[in-house]
């Protein structure tokens, strides 16, 4: 594994350990699975792949330590991709955006016992991968950078009966719209993935240019929560 990937895993482990110690004194823990789409608005990718956005899944593990009313923290893994083709099918483009984000949610009120508006902010690392495939060769490049997100949305929550067997458990649905900022990905030294093992010919470096992955981001999904009852 490369050093940056090792760093991300290390940070995630630290956060998980911190999180778990927080959870030990937590009021609520949650698991959220979302479908997300980030709209780049073109910026290079639409020409070569025909798509203006990248979509995928997000998995958030949340904890509300009860420190501040309505504020919870989460650790998220996000994966979005865009696949398409350009130049009348002669170029096949595959783009992937992995993110590991740490963030906070603020839910100020609960209306009617089930509806909660929310504000979400997060920051972390992003790993963007781009692959260009033509009939002659396939080139792949990887870029690491920073990411940050700020958005607002709402969720609905359905709690189980407090005196029942599933007391403390709640399920719900969340939707958040916001802006994802990600550092510009410079794909300046892409490498060929189709060179045979025994090939003596060295390939010259290949640059695809720079990609901007920032844009409006929307997610929609389900969550499950467990509140620790006193």
């Amino acid at each position: 594994m490369r050093s940056i990937e090792r760093a991300i895993v290390l940070v995630a482990v630290v956060i998980a350990m911190t999180g778990s110690s927080l959870a030990a004194s937590a009021q609520e823990i949650s698991l959220e699975a979302l479908l997300g789409v980030t709209h780049h608005g073109g910026e290079g990718l639409e020409g070569v792949s025909g798509s203006r956005s990248a979509s995928g899944t997000r998995l958030l593990i949340g904890v509300d330590p009860g420190l501040v009313e309505g504020v919870g923290f989460h650790l998220g893994w996000e994966l979005e991709n865009a696949v398409g083709s350009g130049f009348a099918g002669e170029l096949d483009t595959s783009y992937q955006n992995h993110r590991v984000m740490v963030g906070a949610d603020y839910r100020p009120v609960e209306l009617g016992g089930f509806f909660r508006p929310l504000v979400r902010v997060s920051a972390g690392f992003g790993r963007q991968e781009l692959e260009f495939e033509t009939s002659e060769a396939t080139y792949r490049g990887v870029n690491h950078g920073a990411a940050a997100y700020g958005g607002a949305g709402a969720e609905v929550v359905f709690r189980a009966k407090e005196d029942g067997a599933l007391a403390g458990l709640a399920v719900g649905a969340t939707t958040v719209v916001g802006y994802l900022w990600q550092s510009r990905a410079e794909f300046t030294s892409m490498e060929s993935t189709t060179v045979p093992e025994e090939d003596l010919w060295q390939r010259g470096s290949y640059e695809a240019g720079a990609l901007g992955a920032s844009g409006i981001s929307w997610s929609l999904g389900l969550n499950i929560r467990y509140r620790f009852l006193p």
Partner: protein, 534 residues
């Protein structure tokens, strides 16, 4: 729930509106094929009609590591045709969309551009080998987008000034083929003429005359236009002294003639003459049915040599006296091509001309020694006028001479799939057949040549002096071969719409020292504009 759905829909709408970038440039939806490149001094240039751009591919060597630069320059709207200048330093591009001609100057680091507005659309770019003019004309191929096509109109672009200018001329005849005559001086004046070849006539266009009747002079090749059509095939220019005066002659060969037409240009003698030149037409006998002709410098003076198109003979003509003599080439079929070269005379410091004549139907090649031919009352020189080389492999489809004057070597291409090629030694009149795949093209560099195979992923390095060949493996099948700037690298173009090239050092063209560059036309594609400007 409804609030939730509404929020979701609102989010989508916002996203769509904010993310909306407009129409994607149509170039991204078109196939990548950039067509055939033009060769320039720095490398190769393609015309990317999808994005109206020129794409220059330039090989180099940085600390013994091959590099390939890709430079993109904006061309005009609807850039349709591109031709390089004779020295490879300029490119001329016709822009159909905006009816203009763009002149690009190729420097090592950048490409400059000058645009000239045109009065109508043209589709042929005729380039002056001396780099002073470009003439635009119409081929006559019907185009769907043209309402009218003037087949007789030309645009004359004068490149002699730092600011190129253009003027338009309606020729009296259709501009089928345009031949630039080399610059010459007549009566103390520097002249530039172009010959427009048309059925049964030629037109002399004076590039220095901006107005008036001097601009073009029509010379018919038949008595009447109702006579059988004679299509000019070749024009040879000659300047010589005759009866104490300077003369300029054009020798025109047609496809249906037993004579060569000589058009003589002299400065107008009579003071009352309003035209600059006096023109006279003469018929010159040169064999039964003259085909290819050439002027040759011999010890006895300048001679016209004409290959016969109906028999395996040639005729030598003294243009001043009109004397001629016909000789047998002894190759069995009429020769279709000739190459003039020079060999050093043993014991003397001068060079002697030789002519290599060949036919695709004969495995014999003829070497003509013009100095050994006496015409009329001349004293003949000893030696054979015609010698032959027998090609053991097969008949020649093409012969290419090593351009170095002292070389005396030529490469013969053969058409058969296993016939390989032959190295000709023109000094000793011997041949070295190299069996194998047939060649598609050859590039000379010093005492060696690099050959490109038509159907194999190999180059061949040919030692011309020792007459042997060694194959060089390539990563893919080659399409063309170029010498990089400074003669340090070989640039091999391969098949592949996205652009695939191999750059090899000339001194060591091995896999270890070379580099393959792929997806060259997609380089920095993400940095290019995606949307049409609103």
């Amino acid at each position: 729930m409804t609030k939730f759905v509404q929020r979701g829909a609102l989010g989508l709408i916002i996203a769509a509106l904010l993310g909306c970038g407009g129409e994607v440039l149509d170039g991204y939806n078109q196939p990548l094929d950039l067509g055939e490149p033009g060769a320039v001094s720095e490398g190769m240039v393609y015309l990317d009609q999808n994005f109206d751009e020129l794409v220059m591919v330039r090989p180099g060597l940085e600390e013994d590591v091959p590099t390939l630069d890709v430079i993109r320059v904006e061309a005009g709207d609807g850039a349709a045709r591109m031709v390089a200048s004779a020295d490879g330093r300029e490119l001329y591009v016709l822009n159909d969309g905006e009816r203009s001609l763009s002149i690009f100057e190729i420097e090592s680091q950048e490409i400059g551009r000058v645009d000239l507005e045109l009065d109508t659309t043209y589709d042929v770019i005729n380039v002056d080998p001396h780099g002073e003019f470009v003439i635009l004309s119409n081929s006559g191929n019907r185009r769907d987008d043209a309402i009218v096509q003037n087949l007789n109109e030309v645009a004359i672009v004068d490149l002699r000034d730092p600011d190129p200018s253009v003027r338009f001329l309606s020729l009296v005849t259709r501009a089928q083929n345009l031949e630039f005559l080399p610059p010459f001086t007549l009566d103390g004046q520097e002249e530039r003429l172009v010959v427009a070849l048309a059925d049964s006539q030629v037109t002399l266009v004076d590039l220095n005359a901006e107005a008036g009747a001097d601009q073009q002079r029509r010379i018919p090749l038949t008595i009447s236009q109702a006579d059988q059509v004679r299509r000019p095939q070749q024009v040879v220019f000659e300047q010589y002294q005759s009866e104490g005066s300077e003369r300029v002659s054009l020798f025109v060969v047609t496809d249906n003639d037993s004579d060569i037409t000589e058009i003589t240009i002299q400065p107008a003698i009579r003071e009352a003459q309003t035209l600059k030149f006096d023109l006279s037409v003469n018929q010159l006998a040169a064999g039964n049915r003259p085909g290819r002709i050439a002027m040759v410098e011999t010890r006895q003076g300048r001679r016209l040599l004409a290959l016969d198109s109906s028999a395996a003979t040639f005729t030598m003509v003294d243009v001043v006296s009109g004397e001629s003599a016909t000789f047998d080439l002894r190759i069995g079929s009429p020769a279709t091509n000739l190459i003039i070269y020079e060999v050093p005379v043993p014991g003397e410091e001068i060079l002697e001309p030789r002519i290599l004549a060949y036919s695709p139907q004969s495995s014999l090649v003829a070497i003509i020694r013009p100095d050994a031919i006496a015409l009329g009352t001349e004293t003949p020189t000893t030696g054979q006028a015609v010698q032959n080389i027998r090609l053991t492999t097969s008949t020649p489809s093409r012969v290419v001479l090593d351009p170095r004057p002292e070389s005396g070597r030529a490469i013969v291409f053969h058409a058969g799939s296993n016939d390989g090629f032959t190295i000709l030694n023109l000094e000793s009149l011997t041949e070295a057949p190299i069996q194998g795949f047939p060649l598609r093209d050859v590039l000379f560099d010093g005492g060696q040549a690099f050959g490109l195979f038509a159907n194999a992923s190999y180059l061949v390095r040919i030692n011309l002096n020792e007459a042997y060949a060694r194959e060089i493996e390539l990563p893919a099948r080659p399409q063309s071969l170029h010498l990089g700037p400074d003669g340090e690298t070989l640039l091999v173009r391969h098949e592949g719409a996205s652009g695939r090239f191999t750059v090899m050092p000339v001194t060591e063209p091995t896999a270890e020292k070379s580099r393959v560059f792929e997806q060259v036309f997609l380089r920095n594609v993400l940095d290019r504009p995606v949307y049409e400007e609103q």
